[in-house]
Symmetry: none
Subunit: 186 residues, 4 copies
Amino acid sequence: MPKIVNHDQYREDICKKCFAIFSKKGYASVTMREIAREADVSTGTLYHYFPTKQAIFEQMFQYIAPENVAQTLGQYTQSMKLEEKLNQFTHFWGTYKTYYQNILLLLIDFYRNSDTGTAQQVIDRIAMFYINEIAKYLELPIEIAELMFTFLTGIVYHIMVRPETVSFEKLVGLFNAIVLEYQQQH
Amino acid sequence: MPKIVNHDQYREDICKKCFAIFSKKGYASVTMREIAREADVSTGTLYHYFPTKQAIFEQMFQYIAPENVAQTLGQYTQSMKLEEKLNQFTHFWGTYKTYYQNILLLLIDFYRNSDTGTAQQVIDRIAMFYINEIAKYLELPIEIAELMFTFLTGIVYHIMVRPETVSFEKLVGLFNAIVLEYQQQH
Amino acid sequence: MPKIVNHDQYREDICKKCFAIFSKKGYASVTMREIAREADVSTGTLYHYFPTKQAIFEQMFQYIAPENVAQTLGQYTQSMKLEEKLNQFTHFWGTYKTYYQNILLLLIDFYRNSDTGTAQQVIDRIAMFYINEIAKYLELPIEIAELMFTFLTGIVYHIMVRPETVSFEKLVGLFNAIVLEYQQQH
Amino acid sequence: MPKIVNHDQYREDICKKCFAIFSKKGYASVTMREIAREADVSTGTLYHYFPTKQAIFEQMFQYIAPENVAQTLGQYTQSMKLEEKLNQFTHFWGTYKTYYQNILLLLIDFYRNSDTGTAQQVIDRIAMFYINEIAKYLELPIEIAELMFTFLTGIVYHIMVRPETVSFEKLVGLFNAIVLEYQQQH
DNA sequence: TATGAATGAGGCTTCATTCAT
DNA sequence: AATGAATGAAGCCTCATTCAT
């Protein structure tokens, strides 16, 4: 009997193992040999489980992203007032800056290198997950959460490409103030 | 008798000519042959003026002045009330969606493929140009303009990668409402 | 308790089962996985019974008896006159065109991929079977049957590679006429 | 200025140079590196002139086959009687056995590895060339020439795959006798 | 025995870069 | 200066074969 393998489980393992290298180098400049090395298998094995490099990349998101996200977001402690929550939340977000930057770059690579429709679906699923978590935690309407998430995406981008000029704290503080004020009016 | 050529001028010409193709296809998937064709020279000539493909890409941003990238701005007509201005502005922004998406992707390629410090400087210059234009036109403090620009960046991204779920109008409408309210308080 | 297996019998089974796929796709473009699937065993089992892919291919011809290859023959009904027989025979041959084309291609693959001497022996055995059948059925001397078979081989080839130009009926009609005339003289 | 190259001429040169290796090893088992070595260029250059391996193979026939064929056939000396002509012709054909065998194998590879329609056209052109030459030289009607060519194809095949059993002379002698007799009747 | 997961050499192809003209 | 033909390293992928279970 050959080694008993749960294919899906194995795929997931491989995906998890190569997340780091993709996250570090993006899509295009990662070679199959590197992926194989990272996943500690041969290139042949890679092709035993995935038809193409692109498929590895795509499935990686299916397996990794939601989990990582959940892991990342599940750390809030509850607090009472919206203002405090906002502060805690954005502070937290700031702590994971680099992580979110990598994800953002990776998602853009994903968008560039995959079938557009598929990419959009996958990315949307990830985004919706975030948005719902934000809404739940901050006890805000989903539209506001979506607004916040969109804005935070913008922040992640600008902090990455313009770190000298952009102050995360200032930007976020201003945004929080605006949201707070708006919320109090309604 | 060699052709008299102003090297810098020639470089600038080439850069401008290949902006379109880079903006359309990104960095990695544009070949030197394509660049040469676009710039209407031979690959040999390309290497006479630039040491590498990456150098072309980097210098392109130097020659593509912010005004060029933002050439679509500056078409506003003035109107009185902030609300109207906001509406006009965001409507306008929405019209050029695809263009901004391409620029966003391009800048990310630039960030990925160039020296980080240089890329950040160049991108910052472009961003600041936009932000100042926004501040000037909407007669808003620069911090608010920065906030808006950051947010608009997020929108461009989300509209690109999640078009099924995200409504530009709704998102922007909500944002405008919030900004407006905030502005009236101060 | 291991399964009791008659190895030779097992080999024969496998060979017979994969004849179809080889005949359809040729030697080179059939993979071991496909052979395994076709024979309803694992690739490991394949290698338990055969040392290489080539060995499978070679032994296949050993087990595929000439009668199998020529199974389509033997369906003739007897009729009296040579002319009628010729017509019936060539009509019949024409009906199985595609089948004979595949066999022809397969034998050429065999010739190319196997030890020349072995291939020649096997192919000769198959050919002789055909020729004898022709001689028997048409009641013609073996030399004439050989002539006919050689000619029919040529026809199979030309119909395959030049279907637009070659008319099976015309070619065969002419040939029959010639044979007939020759026969009547002797 | 770069080296001045007549692309078509260069393509033809490359094709001619790699005819030998293809003719010796067939299509599938010839690698691009071998082709390059044979043509005395780099693999890159190969792709400068041909988009794929298949294209090289296909164009090789366009360039090579008619010419080689012509060269081969242009050696007849005229003689008076049909019988003598037939003898000379078939003798000649026998002399080039190996050459025709290679061509036959190669054409079958061509048929297998190219778009069917294209392959058929190319092969038909070659065949028609032969047939016309036969008709012209032997002063026979085109249908008889076609018949002969078809038959000769069959002979080439059988001599190749069954050399122990098949006698070229006998087969051809018999065929000549039949043709001769038929011709005298009409 | 039987399985099929695992291997890795080697195939085709791409493309930034070099260099003879 | 300008050209574009030529290069060859390196990428993705295939598949006959091996081997642990």
